[in-house]
Amino acid sequence: MNSGDTAWSLICTGLVLLMTPGLAFFYGGLVREKNTINTMKMSFLALGVIALEWALVGYSMAFGPGGRLIGGLQWGGLGGVGDAPHATYGPTIPHLVFMAFQMMFAIITAGLISGAVAERMKFWAWLIFITVWSVVVYAPLAYWVFGGGFIFNEIAARDFAGGLVVHINAGVSALALVLVLGPRLGWRREIIRPHSLPWTMLGAGILWFGWFGFNAGSALAANELAGNAFVTTQIAAAIAATTWMLIEAARTGKPTTLGFASGAVAGLVAITPCAGFVGPFAAFCIGIAAGAICYFALQLKFMFNFDDSLDVIGVHLVGGIVGALLLGVFADAAIGGTDGVFFGNARQLWNQFASIVIGGGYAFVVSLVLAYILKMTIGLRVSEQDERRGLDLSLHEEQGYVLE
């Protein structure tokens, strides 16, 4: 046990928790005024139900002793998860601290999906979806990549802090849910615009800050690797934000604030899998790629006509893929023990690609099935009247803004 490592891990756990309220503000500002509370609550809800799910079964399935595909239930209800460090999950920090750190990842991953379905989904359907999804999609993916499963051991793909487990997973699951849910009333006909960019900037700032816990904390120790992840995270976010803004200004004439914030998030997403495998120059390149590619990826929803309300697919799915693939290009064994194409290991790029197809494919199919089951049983969408009236009043009998 090392008190420095433990202190750092505890702080990072708190930082990652803070990202979920940050996400609530980020998303809350991007919706229309009448849906502010509902949208924020979709993220906040994950802080409640996913924490419980994680302690009861999720952690054990994702990190417990098991075979190639899933962890057993020996650690259900956190039985056997105590003060003593686990040999592979942070050998210098209490096992319980590692469990809590990973709990925050499970929470925010569920929260991320909400951006795609905002402004039209039934609250109880959302609650059931994220709870079941966390068991049948998140836990297996986390096991395959982080918990000793086949993606890490057999495919030999790498994912430092959750490019696949968090961002590709959330993005592709969001896509499945949106395809079943359908577009918001008036999408592409009426003006549906953000009601409070200041909320969104506040959220972006909290996310950016919390991301240092997410990435640098994934070193599970206060060491050189954490320092490397911290620096690569900042560089990628900074250059992606700037890149997005410059492309936007060149194309439409105005550098928007939302564009800058979106670019920062795209850069943070893309560096997530890479943060502990690449150096600062690679982070610079990854940031440029993320800012540029995600900017153009926003057009996907118009090309294929699916209403991803707040661009979870364009930013998290696409940004996650960019990062996961570029890990296979820029990874340097001197930093994280794995080489990429530029260091003579072309095979790694293929490994990364395979992990995206398998992990993303699984998440998409299971989410699709889950969404259909909910649609056929309790229904996914609110009534047309409730949607027009706004979900804050119709679902919660609350308002975001009482201005008299």
């Binding site: 439409t252 105005k254 939302l258």
Partner: protein, 112 residues
């Protein structure tokens, strides 16, 4: 008695109020409204999607005045709210049948 309704740019509200007070007006009402006139709306861009926003924010000012004060009020609003560009707004003048001060029950000019 007259009811004078003016639609002006929001940033002109304070200036108009101060000028009207100086001209002897003892009270007015104002509210935020949205509308459109000859002034076109504007474009907003969010993540590359452009929206044409047709309504522009304005302030509606209502003043109840005695007939003798009405021409001063109208010219005061006209002069202070004018910038010379499209979107400066409009002033309407309506005859008022009666005015009642609720607290005292005073009527007509006494209630102004």
């Amino acid at each position: 008695m007259k009811l004078i309704i003016a639609y002006v740019n929001p940033y002109k509200l304070d200036e108009v109020r101060d000028a009207l007070k100086a001209a002897g007006v003892t009270g007015l009402s104002a509210g935020n409204i949205q509308g459109f006139g000859r002034q076109a709306g504007h474009t907003e861009t969010y993540r590359g999607a452009e929206y044409e926003v047709d309504f522009v924010p304005k302030v509606r000012i209502e003043v109840l005045v005695d007939d003798t004060l009405a021409p001063t009020v109208i010219s005061t609003i006209e002069q202070t709210a004018r910038t010379g560009s499209i979107g400066d707004g409009k002033i309407a003048v309506l005859p008022v049948e009666d005015v009642i001060r609720i607290r005292t029950g005073e009527r007509g000019r006494d209630a102004l």
